[in-house]
Every structure is written in structure tokens, then in C-alpha cells.
Amino acid sequence: MRTPVKRKSRRGSAMVEFALCATVLTTAFTGVFRFGYEMYVYNELVSGVREGARYASLAGVSNAGDGTCPTPSAYATAVQNMVVYGTTSTGTTTIAPNLTPSQVSVTVACAGTGNAASVPTSVTVKVSSYAIDAVVASWTVTNKPVMTIPYFGKYCSTNGGLNAC
């Protein structure tokens, strides 16, 4: 009558094997999903920032022309929307889940002296902070992706002169 004992033992070892394998499998599948999803979303962010930067390099910038170098809010909003929605106005579909324009940073940089210090020379577009939520874990990207592009667009100054608005 030793046979039933052996059968019971096999059933237990199957349970243990399944538990071990399921743990490994679940961990591996979860890892694959997490890394794959994070890479996918990050790649979308890179694409969005690139499109936004290219738009930012050509869109018109106007400021007071008094030597200060602010980033005009309307300009920044258009660039942020370009990154998030692919259009200059607010859209309905974002390139990444729950990404909002406020999470995109747009900074105009100027060079020169005097009033010329108001003329843009480059623009930096970046995702200031965004959590990529892969369900099992979340990865927060800070100040990336970032892209800086020389400014080629039309500049005008409310201060008059050659570049008067």
C-alpha cells in the first residue's frame, strides 16, 4: 500500500513546480511588459519633443525688445500643444497617456547685448516631469527627452526698430 503515498507526493511536487515556474514566468512577463511599454512611451515622447522643437524653431516670437528674453506664453502654449497633441491648439488625443501641456517646458534663449539680447538664438523643449505608468511600476522621467534647436523663425519687437511688430 505504498503506491498512494507516492501519488500524493507527485501531486505536491507539481504544485511546487507550478508555483516556482509561475513566479518566474509572472516576473519575466511583467518585466517584459514593463520595459517594453516604458520604451514605447519614451520613444513617443522623443518623437513629440522633436516635432515640438522643429515647430518652435520656426514659429514667430515677439517680445518687448528691451534686452530681456522672456518666452512668450502664446508661443510656449503652441509648442507645448505641438508636443502633446501634434497640433498647435489643444487636441483630444495625446501622444502619451495623461501627458499634459504643462508637463512640457519651452525655453527661449537669446544672445547679444543691449536690445539685441531680446532676439532669440535657440529654443529648448523638454518634458519637465512625466510618470510612465506601466501598471506594475511607474517610471518618472525628469527633464527628458530634451532637445535644443537654433531659432530660425520670425522675431518681432514691440520696441520698434528693424524688427518692429
Partner: protein, 396 residues
């Protein structure tokens, strides 16, 4: 019975082997899982580095091509423009250094619209006017975490490349502007061999300004654009056309004027040898449309025309989007000759750079634009270093 039982028990070792089979299958499954993990992580990283590298190459090539000026300084400036880029790779953590970045300059072997026929070198030599294409290549090596298990190398080089060129622009925005300047002399051809311009510039100087809409009262030459006034004695004729029929040749309604100027929309084909029938049009409507058009240009620099006393002329370093640089038909003027017996005959097409502001003030004020060179419209020529209309754009 006992013998049978013993026989059955002896067969148990075979079932014991099935337990090992589960582990073996799991091991094989793990092998595949690592492969999937490798694909997710390593290939994912490759894709991201590819995106970052391509963005770097695209932006670098455009900024470098814009820096080309036909001199060695332009070559240096182009290299600097690429190396000054602060964009990075591998999740924005690593810089593109000289070791993984190549900047090459292309000499066009023919009038190519794509730079595809160019021969590239990293060390260009004189004459630098031949270099109209820039190729930027980056080759970052991405470390592999899982894929080496399957025999691949420990790093994977991800190559991204972009080419930007100074491209001849034959038909900016599809059509001609509805204005027509006067040629100072016809270009030399098989039938016209004397009293002609052998350089193909209609007797005009690149970089100098000329009128494309002349005033009713020339006042001697007092009401003429500088290029017409200083170097063309014939520009002192008795104006035989009337009203606003002085250079504009498209439809007359205000909306049509806007379409013709803003969109360069033509209502009829125009070829060399055609006689232009100029039409009346509101000068105010024309000025409004011209100013609106020029306001769309990304280059709002007020370039100053060169003086004809210092030839050879050099075209301004305009880098806009062709809202200001336009193509107009050049006509034979109110004069007649054996070769061109009818006034206002189209002799060819040329590129002109519009100023940023046109007014109707003064009544007899001419409208001037800077001559940029003979247009390549309808013909060959226009390789970099030759007069013509050009635009910088990515070609690969």
C-alpha cells in the same frame, strides 16, 4: 499478484523522469523569455537611440547647410554648428562626440535637386563654392544586456544619417509673382549675340535693387530704384501706359490680387517670348498683399542693396522660407529691337528678394526688390555657386 505488484513498482522510475521534464520545459521557456526580455529592453533601447540620433543628424545637417557661404569660413561654421548641438542620446544621457560623429561636405556633380549625386569629403578644399550639401552621420554604440546570450555582440552600433542641401529652387511656391521688372539688356543667345549679357543676368547686378512696378512720373530718373537709375540710362522713358498699369499683369479684383501675390497663383501660363498684357490693379491692394506675404517670411532682415560701383555683386545671405524671395518674369521694357519687336516681351525669369514693407506713399514711388540671379525656371543650371534661387532643406 505480488509478482505483478512488484513489476508495477519497478516501472515507477519512468514516471519519476516526468518531473525533470517539467524543469526542462521551464528552462527552455526561460530561454525564450530571456529572448523576449532582450527584444523588449535591447531592441527598445536601439529604437530610442535611433530616434535621438536621427533628430541630432536632421537638426545638425540643416544648421550646417545654412552656414555654408561658399568660403572656408562657411565650412568651419558648419562644423561648429553641428558640434554646438547639445542634443544627447541614450535617454538624453550621453553626448554625441567627435568619435561617433562625422560631418561631410558634398560637391554636386550635376544640377541635382536631391544631393544624391554629390561626392562627399570630410576635408573640403577650394573652391568652396562647389560645396552645397552637408551629410551628418552619427554612430553611437548601444550596450546590449540580453541579446549577447544569443550570440550577438555586446554593443550594437546604431547609425543615423541626414543630408541637407542648398537646393536650386526653380518654382518657389509653384508660380510667378504677378509683377515684371525690365531687363536692362537681353541675355546672349544663338540669335542675340550683340548688345546682350553673356552672364545671363539681363544686364542686372546680383545684390542690386531694381524696380518691379514703376511710377507714373519717372521725373527724369529721380523716381527710379537705384539699379535702374545708376546703371541704365534708358530708364528715362516717356510712360505710355496709364493708371496703375505699370508692372502688374494678373486679375484685377482685390481678392484676385491677394491670391496672385500671396499664393503666386497664375491664371495663365507664361513662357519666354510671350507678350505681357499688364492690367489695372489697386496699388493699395497690391501693397497690402505684398506686405502680408513678406510678413510670413522667417527672415525679416532688411538687407541693403549693393551699389553698382562695386561689382561683382553678392546676393544677400537670405535664409528665409521663400515668402520674400520670389520669381518674376523679366520683360524687354517699353522699347523695341530687331530681336524683340514688341514691347514688354518676356525674356526670361529671375529671382528677386522683396523688401519687408511697401507703401503707396508719394504716388510716384517705385517698388524695388533685390536681384538675386537668373531663375532656373524652365531650364538647367543653378548649381551651388551659380546665380539663382536656392533654399536649404533636408534631402535625406
Amino acid at each position: 499478484m505480488k509478482a505483478l505488484e512488484a513489476k508495477l513498482i519497478r516501472r515507477l522510475p519512468a514516471k519519476k523522469g516526468q518531473r525533470g521534464f517539467t524543469l526542462a520545459v521551464t528552462a527552455a521557456g526561460l530561454f525564450m523569455l530571456v529572448g523576449m526580455l532582450g527584444l523588449a529592453v535591447d531592441v527598445g533601447r536601439i529604437y530610442i537611440v535611433k530616434s535621438e540620433g536621427q533628430a541630432y543628424a536632421d537638426l545638425g545637417a540643416i544648421t550646417a547647410a545654412r552656414a555654408l557661404d561658399g568660403k572656408s569660413t562657411g565650412i568651419t561654421a558648419a562644423r561648429t554648428a553641428v558640434s554646438n548641438s547639445t542634443n544627447k542620446w541614450l535617454f538624453g544621457t550621453k553626448s554625441f562626440t567627435d568619435g561617433i560623429r562625422t560631418v561631410e561636405f558634398g560637391t554636386k556633380t550635376s544640377n541635382s535637386l536631391t544631393c544624391s549625386g554629390a561626392t562627399y569629403t570630410a576635408s573640403p578644399s577650394s573652391p568652396y563654392t562647389n560645396y552645397g550639401c552637408v551629410r551628418v552621420t552619427v554612430t553611437p554604440a548601444v550596450d546590449m544586456s540580453f541579446m549577447p546570450i544569443f550570440g550577438t555582440s555586446y554593443t550594437q552600433t546604431v547609425t543615423s544619417q541626414a543630408v541637407a542641401g542648398v537646393i536650386p529652387e526653380s518654382f518657389p511656391l509653384g508660380g510667378y509673382m504677378p509683377f515684371t521688372p525690365f531687363a536692362h539688356m537681353p541675355n546672349c543667345s544663338l540669335t542675340v549675340t550683340t548688345g546682350c549679357d553673356s552672364t545671363g543676368n539681363y544686364g542686372m547686378l546680383i545684390g542690386e535693387e531694381y524696380g518691379f512696378r514703376w511710377p507714373g512720373n519717372l521725373n527724369g530718373q529721380g523716381n527710379a530704384c537705384e539699379g535702374d537709375r545708376v546703371s541704365w540710362p534708358a530708364y528715362n522713358f516717356s510712360d505710355t501706359v496709364s493708371g496703375s498699369t505699370r508692372g502688374y499683369f494678373e486679375l484685377q479684383a482685390a481678392s484676385a490680387i491677394g491670391d496672385a501675390i500671396l499664393g503666386a497663383i497664375q491664371t495663365q501660363p507664361l513662357s519666354v517670348g510671350d507678350v505681357l498684357n499688364m492690367t489695372n490693379g489697386s496699388k493699395q491692394a497690391e501693397a497690402n498683399a505684398l506686405n502680408l506675404r513678406t510678413s510670413y517670411d522667417i527672415d525679416q532682415t532688411n538687407y541693403v542693396a549693393v551699389t553698382p560701383s562695386t561689382p561683382p555683386g553678392v546676393a544677400p545671405g537670405y535664409y528665409g522660407n521663400n515668402m520674400r524671395e520670389v520669381v518674376m518674369p523679366v520683360n524687354s521694357g517699353p522699347f523695341t529691337s530687331a530681336a524683340y519687336p514688341t514691347p514688354y516681351t518676356v525674356l526670361g525669369f529671375a529671382s528677386f528678394l522683396l523688401y519687408t514693407n511697401y507703401t503707396t506713399g508719394g504716388g510716384n514711388q517705385p517698388w524695388c526688390a533685390i536681384y538675386m540671379g537668373s531663375s532656373t525656371a524652365g531650364g538647367t543650371g543653378g548649381v551651388f555657386g551659380v546665380a539663382g534661387a536656392f533654399v536649404v532643406r533636408l534631402t535625406q
